[in-house]
């Protein structure tokens, strides 16, 4: 049994303008010790997917359907009390903006101790010892003194370390990281990624890494889900996604990225911009921006199906295998040609 198995997850928000289908039929699973990368642009539904799993959407205007089985228990239908037991204990989450994700009026020690004592029957003193241990593990210098400091006294990178310490304080089985390095500088990003990598090895936790950065995914993920307009466009092992991409949107993402190892005069650009989820395009949601669009794309929404040669590599596109194979080769060859 996988640690987490998400089946046909749907999250709809009701707004003044109508129903926004923020997540519309997403499935994936993850085992202990694995890292799953979810890539997509803003509004693709990658963050909402994880907030739904954590039960952190505003219940007043949200409807969630489908299943999210954590060790066989459905997170979507369990009682709020049971969900609270799991949250922060078995499943923990790190957010994008370390500047606003910590409460400004409590010391980081107070906030860390709160996280332990919500789930464990420890005295304040024991909780503080545990908090200190974690702060040292995530590499906060002079942790004994800094534990009584307030969040505003830390830099962005240090705050993200505190968030990681807080997420790991109860040895969770699953860590969900929502763009944990987007707000940070590149050298700090390298520190944080190395830290998550090391801690994952130490605790054998599963990690879901949400990001828009294909580089981050390539470096740390075992499996990759590419999301576009609330749906999964492509899903497979990281080598398959980068070596044999099979969806025009994935090609676009790869081609549009300027990178250190290749030289191109012009970047591949995906025309237009992501669609509104209030009124998503008919058929394949990518069709208005797709250079390979065919008649069938406008009418029929492609199902996520295995590619010809790899049952674990799934994609949702009407193009025939031969064209996809040829175009992917062309794209990769183009990038190789530019390689210095």
């Amino acid at each position: 049994m996988p640690l987490l198995e998400v089946k046909d997850l749907k999250t709809y928000f009701s707004t003044d303008d109508g129903v926004v289908k923020a997540v519309d039929g997403v499935s994936f699973s993850i085992e202990k010790g694995e890292t799953l990368g979810i890539v997509g642009e803003s509004g693709s539904g990658k963050s909402v997917t994880c907030l739904t799993i954590m039960g952190l959407n505003n219940p007043k205007n949200t409807i969630s359907m489908g299943e999210a089985l954590f060790n066989g228990e459905d997170l979507l239908t369990m009682s709020p009390g049971r969900l609270r037991q799991l949250r922060g204990n078995d499943i923990a989450m790190i957010f994008q903006d370390p500047m606003t994700s910590l409460n400004p009026v409590h010391t980081i020690g107070t906030q860390l101790v709160e996280a332990v004592r919500l789930h464990r029957d420890l005295t304040k003193k024991q909780g503080r010892a545990r908090a200190l241990e974690l702060l040292k593990q995530v590499g906060i210098p002079r942790a004994e003194q800094r534990i009584d400091d307030y969040p505003h006294q830390f830099s962005g990178g240090m705050r993200q370390r505190v968030m990681i310490a807080m997420a790991l304080i109860n040895d969770p089985d699953l860590l969900i990281a929502d763009e944990p390095t987007t707000a940070l500088d590149v050298t700090t990003q390298a520190q944080i990624l190395a830290l998550i990598d090391r801690l994952q090895a130490d605790y054998n936790s599963a990690v879901i890494m949400i990001t828009h950065d294909l580089g981050v995914v390539a470096e740390i993920a075992d499996d990759v889900v590419v999301m576009y307009a609330a749906e999964v466009a492509e899903h497979g092992p990281v080598e398959a996604i980068f070596r044999k991409p099979r969806h025009p949107y994935t090609w676009g993402l790869m081609g549009s990225l300027p990178r250190l190892d290749t030289d191109v005069e012009r970047l591949v650009q995906i025309q237009g911009h992501p669609p509104s989820l209030l009124r998503p395009p008919s058929g394949c949601r990518f069709h208005p921006r797709c250079p390979y669009v065919m008649d069938i794309c406008r009418q029929v929404d492609p199902v996520l199906a295995p590619t010809g040669d790899d049952p674990r590599h799934l994609q949702a596109c009407h193009l025939d295998e031969e064209t996809k194979s040829r175009e992917a080769e062309k794209l990769l060859a183009g990038m190789m040609a530019g390689a210095s």
């Binding site: 952190l56 609270r84 989450m93 409460n103 400004p104 009026v105 409590h106 709160e114």
Partner: protein, 332 residues
């Protein structure tokens, strides 16, 4: 911290001088002769001049202001420097010590203001928080309607209606008047129960307007704070909703309320004029109105001195309190 206090006190002194000077000059500009009023209609021109000389109103404004400041100083240089008791002078009208006028009126106003403050916070906190938790619910709509009514009604109208309906028609409370908390003088009603019994209608009157304003403020602040990222973090940790509200939302949402409360209370201490007038409470506002009508500048100045000091002190308390509850603020 010390540096901060020193700077604040220097500013406070400057502010004090400016406020009193403006008040003094304004008084001097009024085309009325306090001596004529103090003396009475029957006085001759010479009588009036004698009275003016006795009151000092025949001297230029800067001399009078100098005397006023001199009386407030704790030292005197007349006959060698020595310490003395600062005082506010005597009333033009009845020659009473203004010190004692203020000392009698201040507890009345303080009783009214602090009592009303407790009442309005007791109403505004739960209503504001519940409205924020369930926006657009029946409770929220009802409370927002109440807020509109509370803000639009004038305290004089509220006071008169309450006094008429509850005091006069239903005989449930006194119509007007004040009872001393520590026992009445000369057989007048007194003691804590009579005190509260006499003040209940004034409290409600003053509280209605403020409760309305505070419900709206608290509701808006709580709703804003609920959407903060750190609240989501608290939920992600597995904190129960009650704890999220108490430890994470309220502490942050109420920060600006503290400042506002300090300012409102300080301003009201200068005289909740309408409420005091309607209920005949012999407080600072009531006394100020009387004194202005009589061109009794020492009494008016005395009340201004008291009100300014109250505002400065409350401001300082609010700042210190703010620095204590919000670690991001440092007093420098």
């Amino acid at each position: 911290m010390l540096r901060y206090l020193v700077r604040r006190i220097l500013w406070a002194v400057l502010l004090f001088v400016v406020v009193t000077l403006i008040a003094f000059v304004l008084f001097f500009l009024i085309p009325a002769n306090p001596a004529q009023l103090a003396c009475g209609k029957a006085c001759t021109q010479q009588d009036v001049q004698r009275v003016a000389h006795a009151l000092g109103t025949d001297r230029p404004v800067y001399t009078q202001y100098g005397w006023f400041l001199g009386r407030l100083m704790p030292v005197s240089f007349k006959g060698g420097p020595h310490l003395k008791k600062p005082n506010l002078g005597r009333s033009f009208v009845n020659r009473r010590d203004v010190d004692s006028v203020v000392a009698e009126a201040a507890p009345v106003t303080a009783s009214l203001v602090f009592g009303a403050m407790i009442l309005w916070m007791l109403i505004a906190l739960p209503v504001g928080i519940l409205s924020a938790l369930r926006p657009r619910s029946l409770l929220d709509r009802a409370s927002m309607t109440g807020v509109l009514i509370g803000i639009s009604l004038h305290p004089v109208f509220i006071g008169l209606m309450l006094s008429f309906l509850i005091g006069y028609e239903a005989h449930l409370t006194p119509i007007a008047g004040y009872a001393n908390f520590f026992g009445g003088l000369y057989g007048a009603p007194g003691g804590p129960i009579q005190w509260a019994y006499h003040l209940i209608l004034p409290w409600i009157t003053l509280a209605i307007l403020n409760a309305a304003i505070y419900v709206r403020m608290i509701r808006a602040n709580v709703m804003e704070t609920m959407n903060e990222d750190f609240v989501r973090t608290a939920r992600a940790k597995g904190a129960p909703e009650f704890r999220v509200m108490r430890a994470h939302i309220l502490r942050n949402a109420l920060l600006p309320i503290v400042t506002m409360l300090g300012m409102d209370v300080a301003a009201a201490l200068g005289g909740a004029i309408f409420t005091e007038t309607v209920f005949g409470l012999n407080g600072l506002g009531y006394n100020a109105i009387q004194a202005i009508g009589n061109y009794d500048s020492p009494t008016v100045m005395g009340i201004i001195v008291f009100a300014t000091t109250a505002i400065i002190v409350m401001n300082l308390i609010v700042d210190l309190l703010y620095a204590w509850i919000d670690p991001r603020i440092r007093l420098v």
